[in-house]
Subunit: 334 residues, 4 copies
Amino acid sequence: MILVLKENYDKEQLENLKNWLQSQNIDIHMSEGSHTTIMGLVGDTSSLDIDMLSTLDIVERAQRIQEPYKNANRKFHPDDTVVTVGDVKIGGGNFAVIAGPCSVESEEQLCLIAESVKKSGASMLRGGAFKPRTSPYAFQGLRSKGIELLLAAKKRTGLPIVTEIMDISHIPLFEDVDVIQVGARNMQNFELLKELGHLNKPILLKRGLSATLSELLMSAEYIMAGGNGNVILCERGIRTFETATRNTLDLSAIPMLRSMTHLPIVVDPSHATGISKLVKPMAVAAAAAGADGLMIEVHNDPKKALCDGAQSLTCEQFDDMKKAVDAVLPYACR
Amino acid sequence: MILVLKENYDKEQLENLKNWLQSQNIDIHMSEGSHTTIMGLVGDTSSLDIDMLSTLDIVERAQRIQEPYKNANRKFHPDDTVVTVGDVKIGGGNFAVIAGPCSVESEEQLCLIAESVKKSGASMLRGGAFKPRTSPYAFQGLRSKGIELLLAAKKRTGLPIVTEIMDISHIPLFEDVDVIQVGARNMQNFELLKELGHLNKPILLKRGLSATLSELLMSAEYIMAGGNGNVILCERGIRTFETATRNTLDLSAIPMLRSMTHLPIVVDPSHATGISKLVKPMAVAAAAAGADGLMIEVHNDPKKALCDGAQSLTCEQFDDMKKAVDAVLPYACR
Amino acid sequence: MILVLKENYDKEQLENLKNWLQSQNIDIHMSEGSHTTIMGLVGDTSSLDIDMLSTLDIVERAQRIQEPYKNANRKFHPDDTVVTVGDVKIGGGNFAVIAGPCSVESEEQLCLIAESVKKSGASMLRGGAFKPRTSPYAFQGLRSKGIELLLAAKKRTGLPIVTEIMDISHIPLFEDVDVIQVGARNMQNFELLKELGHLNKPILLKRGLSATLSELLMSAEYIMAGGNGNVILCERGIRTFETATRNTLDLSAIPMLRSMTHLPIVVDPSHATGISKLVKPMAVAAAAAGADGLMIEVHNDPKKALCDGAQSLTCEQFDDMKKAVDAVLPYACR
Amino acid sequence: MILVLKENYDKEQLENLKNWLQSQNIDIHMSEGSHTTIMGLVGDTSSLDIDMLSTLDIVERAQRIQEPYKNANRKFHPDDTVVTVGDVKIGGGNFAVIAGPCSVESEEQLCLIAESVKKSGASMLRGGAFKPRTSPYAFQGLRSKGIELLLAAKKRTGLPIVTEIMDISHIPLFEDVDVIQVGARNMQNFELLKELGHLNKPILLKRGLSATLSELLMSAEYIMAGGNGNVILCERGIRTFETATRNTLDLSAIPMLRSMTHLPIVVDPSHATGISKLVKPMAVAAAAAGADGLMIEVHNDPKKALCDGAQSLTCEQFDDMKKAVDAVLPYACR
């Protein structure tokens, strides 16, 4: 980290700062120019609070040179991480498609979709049991019953299952779940992340609605610091002023994260756009840009299952999308 | 809610939609023009998912006419809610200042600050025991020990205490806390909100970094739907592209929320700006705009307590700010 | 357009509103429910100011049913527009790559790059003569001399040229320019757009840094309303809170615009990301998502031409990128 | 400016960089640590392109130490600039209110409003003659006729007039206009700014919809670099994801700009919020936060002048607002 000092800094405050930094085991390199004095801080600067340092009276600016994430940092782990889920691999050249309904509604619905997406080539089944809903009056999911149905569908199809957790107290219910998803709204639920760091199970971590890529990696770091290195990152759109789409899918996050981290990167075009007809082109674009996988909402019958139509593909549309993605994959930028 | 249908909508899909809406106890008023068919939905539409409806094949657009929040809605509760915390009232013309350190560090530090801010006219003491930090390597707060110190300071000064909760499992530790704060990153931690709805204790709910005012009220609604009407809303800055300040303080939220809801509205200029010299002008502006209170970070000795300097006022600066706020309060727009 | 009236609206104000709307040749369909009164406005509503209407005392909400753009609207022009530039076609299945240096520096530099990108398959040459720079102290481009150099390179290579205009008074200088570019900062320079509407020359219109897709189309509408239908839209990244990339490239704009308009859509990954290593994956993703073309910054020798290195590809990198794009094009989603 | 070099930088590229920097009259101070090499650049770095430098192969990061604006920088001009418009002063403790209709409609309308706002204490008259409208089909203003009417109203009331310019070619029409306004959409119309820099007339420069404060000052710098130091800055709301208000008024811009620049700062709550009932609280808050002035839309009769109602105050509401602002001014933070 670099601190640029103000022109007429207080010498006593500088001494206080130096003493405090040394107490944190940080080495200090002073570089005094005619107008500008620069402090180079060397050591484990990941625990230093850059916001705090940058607003000290004597400091003009503070800037990190090293990223504050270590376990997630590609610099220290040059090889891609490959996350293994049953027979499925994701990352390091392995591409996986996770598909399924927004909400788990019934065993029949779920199995019908699971069998269909499996036939189309999906390698994991997703489905919401605990549903984070903006309104307390909206359907909150089948909860533990939903997880039972997912496990039944897994038994029937062999597909590993991915489903979202919303609270630490629910962890025991997720014992047989293959991949635990942390939703965008919980990306900085740090207590939850810490607990998930103690599990030995892949975690799919979604980017928050207004989270920077660096913050996404810091949240991954929370999980990894606890000992669980099986983290899959998921870009699912960020909030902007644009209203034509629900969120703005940030596909440049794929190559950018690729250079920052060794973790696999999955893209969810269904939630990002909120519009079913945009899912296929965005899925294909994500694959072309080098994503390690996709997460796609699929429902069975739009005429019957009214509540699922918003951003979901039908099974036929998913099959079509999967073929289009497969066609582009050999030419993907990785 | 209004649904505008597409020009050549499928009649069968319309029948399916009508049947489903009726099963939800929604009355339907059709209005067919030469080019446009409009469905007016009447009844308890708060549980309808507008995102889902707006993307149905036959629907061109969906628009709410009534707000999806009920308990928090001023339309149904014209009078201001006054939240009472010990002898302190907030809302309905009662202005309260909550002040204290970012993090609780020691009994000495806390009591020194508490006594000072009390003398300056603060009516509640804030202090972080559980600290949500972007980095797992940063100081995470004194946790339960921090709450003990807050309770000691309360005993010493008589000031009610406000502190942040980060997980449901910590609720028992907050039994003697006067106001439980929900931080910006947990604004949509719906499971936590539900649990807080079952308490009989004021909740200070901070606006998420990219939450709309409507979403803030929906999160308040989660708490209120559980039976706890003692919700205080807190504007603390939203995330924008501007980098000169940490966030952008949205003071128009004060009069806007005033018209939307009856709940008290508090402003936190310390976190919003991240720069101590901006705290006083923003505090005064918030008071002038009609806020019901302020939440201000105060530390004791910037030279010793290096880690607290970023956005905090010294006790002297707080005293000066408080006088400036008091001077403007009689002329506030309410 | 629909106006939803407030519950207890003033009858006299409604009469005033009706009279005024009729004076604008708008037909009115009233639909009165038990709680809600809806006014359907039929006719040429594109000149109505929705902001104004939505804040009238008696109006609860106003919503457009028809888009305010007509010439640019796919509904009224179902077939793709194909813009022809010399022998080059863009749109309607014709894919074109525009490549060249950020700034025109010298005839030698420009011709060297032009010949190289032509060999790699670029079909148009770009180069900045008038440079919009944030700082008045930064290099402002070679201006009219730059256009001369572009015309010389065109003569040498046969490539049509694309360059940016910054003011109406410069139009005469652009007489032999093949495509006039309107930069992001001038997307709502309405006087300029009007003048360009009177030319018979393709206009490449870049999306503003915080412009919605609807606003982009309204700016295209300014040009088209003047009689010039040869408008090429360009997505070049929008401003968000993310700082890892310069802007956030919004690739969902491609399929979204495709459904809104018949105009060709080009993507500029160089400016959007500001990072040369992200240009290839984003170019390939844009092609996969169905873009009609690309706009790419290319420079010749990064060691000599220091000032051009930021987001530009070398000629070799461009050749590599072009091959990757060509490989994915047969599988693009259109 | 500081350049942090990558760990294994190419020595030849460093030499190239050094040579180029020296050719720009920049002195270089190298500071080599065990892992990190830092280049300190001293001299007139305002013309260096930080984006370019930060993406050179050998550069890890680039950071400005000195602001790129000079004429606008408070560091070099510690005293407040006071802009004088006839008898009116703005800045340096002088507070001015600019009021008038959104669009000039008729001499009668304009004079009626002008006389009313003058009586209420406004010191300048605003009114749109050239209107930047998103839609080419919307009313574009009375243009030159509108300026004539403004001059007539000035003659009648003695109030100096403020009106917006949209193109260089219109400058002659503005000869007798007292303050020329540059709208948000033209904040980076650099050719226009350069021309205005050659006038000897105050310029009111509005912040762009997604402009940072630093960019706003760079645009002021364009005007000042041409020799015209009479620039008034105007905060008018930035674009965010929030939809309850039209834009988000950034009042922290007032104290933040105060520390960055010596130029006067005016706030326009009418455009920022787009909702007339929010204008008064935001005007009072802006005054309390230390603004040097306000810009307020006022219309005469909402029942007749239907088109002006959106965000405008009636003359009575303006009088009420002005009294509320005056009451708070003695306690403003400056």
